[in-house]
């Protein structure tokens, strides 16, 4: 016990003496949490639209007004020439072109039917797709208004009408940050838990201090615990800072119990610490450990459901995500923070992550040798 205590004492002393690590642990997460969720936003706004109005009627003006009043669209070009609008697209000034053909109003009134033409710049697929959807819904709305305008209501609706009204559960305002912040927090905890720990152990190898440690009677498990415990504590510390920031800056108050979050994080950190330890046993220099970490981090982020929905991945990729511990924590964070899930709801996640912990740690301990 005395040995473990001095090891922990030494480790914390070194960590708090290294300004670079302190910055990495405390300042980086704050910046990431404050900047990333605002920047990484899937909502498409500010779609530049070019309207080719060849009708110049009151209806075409109404439609134009309706579109430019929407927060999603910026009316950048208003013209009567289709070619001019397309040139605007070519110059990257406009994303969407809406053509209102001549005698739009006349046809609408006389024939009860009129056509509009929509052209989308699909270089950015998401923007084109969403732009089209938004525009269509505005036009539909407009259509409804027009009908309301000049239809005399019969006693009964000639056509049966189904109205759909929806409610967004757990995130009623569809606030994207509510979705991102818990996920980014998971990535930060993973960084501290696995990669900082790996780098720390490899540093001892690189500088040669491990040599001096290895000739002492210190036991393998003491040394490993002496390395894991500090980063376990730091990981929970980063989580606490992150939750606090989420509350202050984004108003995210976990719907579920904080205790559930911490319990899961405690187990999860054991798993990622095992990963860090494993990396350290396979590398000799900090550079090697760093490169492996970079590679793994990319995989963790892209196959962890942070940005991309796992459900929309191909089947094989979904199987991959099952071997990614980050996936489970992100899911649990979102479940507990947004939905208020309790321990019983996340029992399988907890079980799987414990499995990761046992597996990774055993592998690392078997692979860690005090002598060659």
């Amino acid at each position: 016990m005395r040995t473990l205590r001095i090891l922990l004492e030494k480790e914390f002393r070194q960590i708090f003496r290294d300004p670079a690590i302190l910055r990495l642990i405390f300042i980086m997460p704050i910046i990431q949490l404050l900047v990333l969720p605002l920047a990484a936003d899937y909502e498409v706004k500010d779609i530049n639209i070019a309207i080719v109005d060849q009708d110049h009627s009151s209806y075409s003006r109404q439609l134009t007004d309706k579109i430019s009043a929407s927060t999603y669209f910026n009316l950048v070009i208003y013209t009567h020439s289709y070619n001019e609008a397309i040139r605007g697209v070519e110059k990257d000034m406009a994303d969407v072109v809406l053509q209102i053909p001549p005698s739009f109003e006349k046809k609408l009134i006389k024939e009860n039917e009129a056509k509009l033409f929509m052209a989308l710049n699909a270089i950015n697929g998401v923007k084109a797709n969403l732009g089209g959807v938004y525009l269509r819904s505005i036009i539909n709305d407009f259509n409804g208004e027009v009908r309301l305008d000049w239809l005399q209501f019969p006693r009964f609706n000639p056509q049966p009408l189904i109205r759909i009204s929806s409610i967004n559960w757990f995130n009623p305002l569809l606030n994207y940050q509510f979705f991102m912040v818990p996920g980014i927090l998971v990535i930060l905890v993973t960084l501290v838990g696995s990669f900082l720990a790996a780098l720390n152990i490899v540093k001892e190898k690189e500088i040669g201090t491990i040599e001096q440690i290895n000739v002492t009677p210190i036991r393998k498990h003491q040394f490993i615990l002496g390395k894991l415990i500090p980063f376990w504590i730091l990981g929970l510390l980063v989580l606490s800072i992150g939750l606090l920031l989420a509350r202050i800056f984004y108003g995210i108050i976990p719907a579920g119990s904080l205790l559930t979050v911490y319990l899961f994080a405690a187990v999860y950190l054991l798993a990622v610490l095992g990963l860090g330890l494993l990396i350290s046993t396979y590398t000799e220099t900090q550079q090697q450990a760093m490169l492996i970490s970079f590679f793994l981090m990319m995989v963790f982020i892209l196959l962890g459901g942070l940005y991309t929905s796992i459900d929309s991945m191909p089947k094989w990729a979904q199987i991959f995500t099952m071997f990614n511990p980050v996936t489970y924590f992100i899911e649990v964070m979102r479940m507990v923070v947004l939905k208020g899930s309790n321990l019983y709801d996340i029992r399988y996640h907890l079980l799987i992550v414990s499995g990761f912990g046992v597996f990774l740690n055993s592998w690392a301990i078997i692979n860690y040798k005090k002598r060659s």
Binding site: R2, T3, I6, K10, R13, Q14, R17, D18, I207, G208, T209, I210, E211, Q212, I213, N214, V215, T216, P217, I218, K370, R371, S372
Partner: protein, 307 residues
Amino acid sequence: MEASVRAQNIFKSFQSGKTKVEALNDISFEVEKGELFGLIGPDGAGKTTLFRIFTTLMIANKGNAWVDGLKVVSQYREIRKRVGYMPGRFSLYQDLTVEENLSFFATLFDTTLEENYDLVKDIYIQIEPFKKRRAGALSGGMKQKLALSCALIHKPSVLFLDEPTTGVDAVSRQEFWELLRNLQLQGITIVVSTPYMDEASLCDRVALMQAGKILDLDTPSGITRKFSKTLWSASSNDMYQLMNDLKADERVNTCYPFGQYHHITFKGLNQEIQSIEKMLAEKGHVDLTIQKTEPTIEDCFMELMNQ
């Protein structure tokens, strides 16, 4: 009396790419209790590998080794409590202070600085003024002293020092050897390696190592006594030309630079030194001196290497 350190037919090889490098090739020797034993040899002779085997950091391919009567493979746990090891590279925590390093290693051995203060006193006094300084900010000589203190903190019965004086200035080197002498007086067996031949004479016994083999093992005077030929030292105004001329002469056996002289041995036993002098004078050497000299360990090493 049982040997303090013993090696018996030790082999160790490393795989370097496709070629196999024999780092240790049938090494056997014994070091007695309380002895100051030197392993002398150039870089790559296998000194560090041998140390790593004795300090239980590495396992030999073949052969046995004992430290304090304990087998290095099976009783390594006990050995780790009894040996002090100072690796060739400074391997203490640079971001901890002198004091923190000492108390850290003391605690790992379940002891305190105060408990074994007598042993490290001489050394510790010299670094005490800097005890609040981080180890990384110490000078080379001070780092060595700190490392030695840390290796001694648990009162080891055997001390392994891997090239403790490499990269240390001449004054610090001398001080360091004096410290080793004092430690020896306290009954600690010391095994020290060095690439510097001049330090060999400061040991009780030395083993000359080269390419994984022990060339000779004896007391320093015993080794120099074995030098079979008469050694001459020569100098002139043009040392480079002198070397070339001597090497070109068929009567000359070996010739190599040694400090400000060239050391020469001849093939025959009774060489007419006058005729050599005459030959050199004819080649235009002035201020020529050739005189007999006592062989040093280095001369013996050169001779053994050429055999």
